[in-house]
């Protein structure tokens, strides 16, 4: 069974089977919008807030998704499998890159020293 995933930040939509995780489906269809990191639940780059729809999920690293976040639908796109159409908002640390064309400069000077990869309440 296939469902439609909508990325609220960009309006992008793509189909995702119930056996596929949302990130994998996006990549397979060569769609963009959710930043791709490790694809395996560890790095937190593909963090999304699910605003509508139901899904099953697999284990995600607590270093990047707190229990409270997970309970409130803030999850990793690489570890959720749709059970209905989904609407998601990209909230990971690379989220700004999808709405503004990012520059290819990288900052080591700590000017962007937000707490990278950590659950939101620890920031």
């Amino acid at each position: 069974m296939h469902f439609v995933v909508t990325i609220e930040n960009t309006g992008e939509t793509f189909r995702c089977g119930e056996e596929d995780n949302v990130l994998q489906a996006m990549e397979q269809l060569q769609r963009r919008g959710i930043p791709v990191g490790c694809r395996n639940g560890g790095c937190g780059v593909c963090k999304v807030q699910v605003s509508e729809g139901s899904y099953t999920k697999r284990k995600m690293s607590r270093a990047v998704i707190s229990a409270d976040e997970e309970a409130s639908g803030c999850v990793l796109a690489c570890k959720i499998y749709p059970q209905s159409d989904l609407r998601v908002e990209v909230v990971g640390k690379m989220a700004r890159a999808i709405v503004a064309k990012k520059s290819m400069s990288f900052d080591f000077g700590f000017a962007t020293a937000t707490a990278i990869n950590q659950p939101d309440e620890e920031k």
Partner: protein
């Protein structure tokens, strides 16, 4: 023997989200050899050409990342001396001894947390299980490699790249207390005086550990395993694709260390590398300096630019 003090990376202990998929990855795809499990559920593995009992320790946990990295030192006397030196340096926190036997066949380990937040260990003794190449007894009339290798089958655990904030403190510890050399460095700022990357060696290798300055504590970028040739790096890419392993980048070449490389992720998102090449480092070799504006080719020599994942994706 000229190589004294800290000899080499001895082990890396990684946290995995689920042990089953992790073992399939580390044993069948990467091709490490399991040597023990303990009553805590930890699994101990080694690469084929390592003689010591284990070089990779896996532990199932709620979060991915690195628990600690262990270094083998030349003798028990060296271990005691370096423990004292570390304590007297005042650079480290949470100093303590892990009793012998806490890792199978391993002597006591001196554990400490370095300024970038990573837990490190020194140890002098670990059981020798050999590389299974001997034909008339262990290390007698050996074949060049053993039968029964699986997957990528690198020869050894080689180094880690780690992310942390107090790079200056960590470099001071490794160079002034532990006797490492700086093979390569990445410098930023108007006068190129702000170090953002250090590639450190205690041996003839281009690096035994590397650190990049990031506003985090104790983060893990990758653990790397050695292959004998560029063609084997290409073969590793084939093995990874065949097994649907998440590949980060490569095969390609690093400017820093000149290594030929492929980056990929274990099933918990911990980055692995297999690489070949590099150069022989001697302590009198001049340090190579890269400027931050040339960081692209320094990291990925062919693309000449960083991918976003290099700095953003770690555990």
């Amino acid at each position: 023997m000229a190589l004294t003090g800290v000899l080499r990376p001895g082990h890396v202990a990684l946290r995995v989200l689920e042990m089953g998929p992790a073992l399939k990855h580390y044993k069948d795809v990467l091709g490490l050899i399991e040597t023990a499990r303990d009553d805590k559920g930890r699994v101990f593995l080694k690469a084929w050409d390592e003689h010591d009992h284990h070089s990779v320790v896996l532990r199932e946990a709620d979060e991915a990342g690195m628990d600690y990295m262990g270094w083998k030192v030349a003798s028990v006397a060296t271990l005691k001396k370096l423990a004292t030196d570390i304590e007297q340096s005042g650079l480290c926190t949470d100093l303590g001894w892990v009793p012998a036997g806490e890792h199978p066949t391993t002597g006591e380990r001196f554990r400490f947390t370095i300024p970038t937040g990573h837990v490190m260990e020194l140890f002098a003794e670990k059981g020798i299980v050999g590389n299974n190449c001997g034909t008339d007894g262990e290390n007698i009339n050996p074949n060049p490699w053993p039968d029964g290798l699986k997957g990528i089958s690198p020869s050894r655990f080689d180094h880690c790249l780690l992310y942390g904030d107090d790079l200056d403190g960590t470099v001071k510890l490794f160079t002034e207390v532990l006797g490492f050399g700086v093979a390569e460095q990445v410098m930023a700022g108007e006068d190129k005086s702000f170090m953002i990357g250090a590639f450190l060696t205690c041996s003839n290798k281009a690096h035994d550990v590397a650190f990049i300055r990031q506003p985090v504590k104790g983060k893990f970028h990758h653990a790397s395993f050695e292959l004998g040739s560029w063609e084997k790096v290409l073969h590793a890419g084939d093995v990874l694709s065949r097994n649907h392993t998440s590949i980060d980048i490569g095969p390609t070449r690093h400017g820093i260390t000149r290594g030929e490389t492929i980056y990929f992720f274990d099933p918990s998102g911990n980055r692995n590398e297999v690489f070949s090449g590099g150069y022989i480092y001697y302590p009198d070799r001049p340090t190579i300096t890269w400027w931050d504006v040339e960081l692209g080719p320094a990291i990925f020599y062919h693309d000449r630019k960083l991918n976003e994942a290099f700095l953003s994706v770690f555990t």
